[in-house]
Amino acid sequence: MVLSGVTKRFGDVTAVDGMNLEIRDGEFFSLLGPSGCGKTTTLRMIAGFEYPTEGSVRIQGREMGLEPPNRRPVNTVFQSYALFPHMTVAENVGFGLKMRGVGRSEIAERVARALDQVQLAHRSDARPSQLSGGQQQRVALARALVNEPAVLLLDEPLGALDLKLRQAMQVELKELQERVGITFVYVTHDQEEALTMSDRIGVMNEGRLLQVGEPEAIYERPTSRFVADFIGHINLVTAECAGSGMVRIGDGAEVAVPGVQGAGGKVTIALRPERLHLTAPDADIPAGANRLRGVVRRRVYHGDGFTYEVAVAGTVLEVRTENTPGLVRYEAGSDICVYWDPSAANLVED
């Protein structure tokens, strides 16, 4: 599926702005971004509920143009599920097949198989209102998958579920996707969900697609300040180039950052808190590491680890440590040393 130059304007609001995106067959692709960035609008343009103001949507090599939703080889799982309240579970799931004129006995067979796949065969005569949220979610999934679409569109399908159920459904969804081999386009504003489930992620902001890549690439090598900041926790430090791969931060301390060129220019470097390490001020550190002396300002307990706020070189860095046996804890106010491998730092555009 290919989107090229897709723009959608609602009056003065540009919801999606010149989007170019290629989604590969059979991949689990997530669109990730904050509220109002245009994720739903993008999905609706693929489904045909909304037409682009300009641009092209091609699915399986076919230009979609102004084709209505019923003539597109895609199906949607809605955030609110949109199950038909006046039909049984089986009628809901069989609706698409019936509309396409599939025979009665084949419908029954495929509906049974689809309900089996989502472990709801025993509820086929229930009404949607008699099901729990998680069950409704699975009916919505079965209703879309039974049609064997080329692409399945999911708009925050787990948004209405509680945390435990959401995590269970994430695993279930991912397994299902691998089993059926259908392309999933998954909209979410939950970065963890996107990271754990996706083959590739596209990060959006204000209608624009900022970066597309595998989860690791997005997390480890964000190219823009927005992507770095939106996904996980990160330290963004403004620095001045000091020549030969060095930058000067805050009060003038120099640290090595690979890929920095020239001198005098301003750059932003991004450092993940878990890539920074703490040690006593005069302890040995690995060769080649950057080191900065500082003072612990605050320590926050997370159960599986600690986050330290450390004042160093005229700025504040967040440092994350795992809660491992024998871990040395530092109290607020103690002198400390922060060190990290230069490769942990990333240059990002503002």
Binding site: N70, T76, A82, H86, M99, N147
Partner: protein, 298 residues
Amino acid sequence: MAAPVTPELEAAAERAQARRGLLVSLPAYAYLVVFFAIPLVIVFVVSVFGRRNPRGATVYGPPTLDAYRKIFEPGPDGSYLVLEIVWRSLWLSVVTTIVCLLLAYPLAYYIATRTPRVRNALLVLVMIPFWSNFLVRTYAWRVLLGRSGPVTAVTSALGLTDTPMIFTVNAVLIGLVYGFLPFMVLPLYAAIERMDWSLVEAARDLYASGWQAFRKITWPLSRPGVIAGSILVFIPAFGAYVTPEILGGSKTTLLGSYIVRQFLQARDAPFGSALSFVLMSVMLGATIVYFRTGARNL
């Protein structure tokens, strides 16, 4: 100082709550009893215990079903006049309901799918007729459908007919549809407006054409509005009095007018009461049947 809650205290609190609820709804109950339940009992008593004496006064004696029997008996000329009138009232109100539904549904759908501002403006337009008196508006139709009215001018110019429509069944039908249309539009609008449109999108997504999505989703989900609107039109149309009096002729007498005539001209209060009672029973029956079928299909 408050005491810890015990089951007795909780029960007492709930009883107090229920009493307060009753107190608040007392005016409504009083209204229903005084203006509905008591008159209904009076009508029933007159129809069963009353007899018309030769001077047109009502006298009371042991219970009898004579007044009800009279409905099914042929008149002096051998025709079943009363049954004819009941039948005419029935089909005319059914046709009125259907015509109203056919006209109102597209209108309500159109209004419900506009932006909120346009929607409110259109709703005001639907309700504007209520600003002037029903009687006055019905007399206006008398002019419109009359001998020198525009409708007759058009039909005779087209070479269809020179006879004005006034005082015919069709004139009554037009008057009834005109009068009751808003009562169909408003509940339909309410039902369509609160519909979840993502359901229609889901149907379109599942290969339904626009028409199929309407048939399978919009129509069944707007059925509560169809039921409410139909009842609101059918019941007053069945008992209509003003419209057929003004726009109808002697051959189009409806039940409402006929009942009034029993009281005011024939001075047969027991028979008029019996007819009223039958009228109300038919309405009640129709309402129950309609609600039952509607509820089952939902």
